[in-house]
Symmetry: C2
Subunit: 184 residues, 2 copies
């Protein structure tokens, strides 16, 4: 996990902790997406957090939201375009060392993954488990869910079907490499 | 524009005004996207509005945002998947009857359109002008912008290069039909 701190200091402008520990998964993915965009590798963005605005007014900075609630998302957090293909995914951290609880995704998110597969897109999860990061393809997730009574995916299944994602300086999480291995 | 109000009353649950007048463009597109999803035609969603949260707390409903500002989006409002292709677009209303001002899109939105084209995706605008709706392909928009000093696209160019979008009961705005004509 320690990503060559010596090299990092000279080539990487962000501060302090060059290990990925301490950065949350979302931040790692956002930095990776920025890198993929800068290098013209992929066009992938995190969707804004969906909210329901209850009250808004105006202040000296313009329109200001004064009351809003978070909404449950019906899709996944990230989507975009890579090598002409539609990609759509989410990132999940599990503290369990032995399995990934399926309750991490809502029913309509599973429906969304199925829709993406049915229409020829690519969907997957980035799972942080046991201090490692895995790419787990949507097909393998749906397949597990539909053929098991278990409420969580065992770590052994993730190790077998998933692809471990390399952590680097740039990109922090090279999930596109895993995607390449699986689909291109 | 009046979409068979008789038929609409019996087959369509939403209330009152069966003409598209009075509904804003965003609403028409959202209803169309719901229809495309239900009919398993396309998987397209509006992205949530990006905001910057300044303050949040908790109330009886859970976490509540108490101060937030709207952020300028760096991408377009809608994206998704149709026939295996990545699609990415925005919807714009112009009151001018003679042209579409290019200032309707920010520079990074043009950059985003170029990125989408470069990576093999489809991008376009739905333009509401002169009480009509047009599909105008991203290539034609970029092409105009890069080869003209004019700050707005004349209506004649939209009529020539664009495709008029049919309005119906379901979907309200059949922009997928225009997409089909252009790309499939």
């Amino acid at each position: 996990m320690i990503n060559y701190p010596g090299k990092a200091k000279s080539s990487y402008k962000k501060t302090v902790n060059y290990s990925n520990r301490g950065m949350d998964l979302e931040e790692l993915i956002n930095l990776s997406n920025e890198y993929y965009l800068q290098e013209d590798i992929a066009v992938i963005y995190k969707k804004p957090t969906p909210i329901t605005i209850v009250d808004a007014s105006f202040d000296s900075h313009g329109r200001v939201i004064t009351k809003a609630y978070f909404k449950e998302p019906s899709t996944l957090d990230y989507n975009g375009l890579y090598k002409g293909k539609y990609v759509d995914f989410d990132a999940k951290v599990t503290k369990s060392k032995t399995s990934f609880p399926l309750s991490n995704l809502h029913d309509h998110q599973y429906e969304h993954m199925k829709n993406v597969l049915n229409h020829g897109g690519i969907t997957f999860l980035i799972i942080s488990i046991n201090n490692k990061y895995y790419y787990l393809d949507g097909k393998d997730i749906i397949d597990f869910k539909e053929n098991n009574d278990r409420q969580s995916i065992p770590y052994s299944y993730i190790e077998e079907k998933g692809i471990e994602i390399e952590t680097k300086i740039k990109p922090r999480l090279d999930y596109i490499k895993a995607l390449d291995k699986k689909h291109f």
